[in-house]
Symmetry: C2
Subunit: 161 residues, 2 copies
Amino acid sequence: MPLPFAQRTSVEEVEEGSLLSPKFDSDGLMPVVTTDAQTGELLMHAYMNQTALMKTIETGEAHYYSRSRQTLWHKGATSGLVQYVQQLLIDDDQDCLWMRVTVAGSGASCHVGYRSCFYRQIPVGTEAVDSSSPIALTFTEAAKTFDPQQVYGDAPNPTQL
Amino acid sequence: MPLPFAQRTSVEEVEEGSLLSPKFDSDGLMPVVTTDAQTGELLMHAYMNQTALMKTIETGEAHYYSRSRQTLWHKGATSGLVQYVQQLLIDDDQDCLWMRVTVAGSGASCHVGYRSCFYRQIPVGTEAVDSSSPIALTFTEAAKTFDPQQVYGDAPNPTQL
């Protein structure tokens, strides 16, 4: 079945046109920004390939491509924390997606157990930097919303050093 | 001058620790999600290298690495649309940044002239897909906030086919 994507024939058509003509990178991926549809909070940043994008469009549930597991990833299949797509947008040059979602269950999206993957803050300003020691982060979420060990068991942690 | 970044010595330290130990990709870059600090709107998705991150932390104004121009990019240097960082966060595995900003001037962040780079919506649901024709986008911003020709003149358009 041919994909319902238009050819990228001109910059004007890509930027100002009304046809979906996505550009995937050399690995066949496109970054996706996922925010809470109600609060605007950034929940996660991940990637889609063509299949993940089509599955997301067809089902209304977020599908990604897992780079660590190298497979299609239906978010919530293991944890139950399915992301329901309220709005899906694409950027000017059509190489990045913005997905506004509501999350099932506890509402968490981060494998570490926090609501958002972005639970630590970097200080900003000249006084923040003292080159003799590493910059200190502060936590913005007081507690985890679930226990990753209970949810994922012994599944490998996607974080790589 | 040594960079004030900690070594990435363990997954636990990277995910649960309080030291900034960023991971840049094989091109020396890290994706950055930039949202409006007040509305939560996604303004743009771009990249930082080490220098851009340090400049952003030190000055409180958004600096990126321009992949199309292959240079450090002080956002707003040409257009006046400087982004003032209200909050800077990093994700669980420290390879992605979330920057909450207020924007100078007209408040726009997109080189095409729109407020956000994400001004077009992809329909979601089975009825959205008819494989015989490309998926149609709808515009979510009614009008441009500035005239790119007036602001950027004949500077090359960063969009690539």
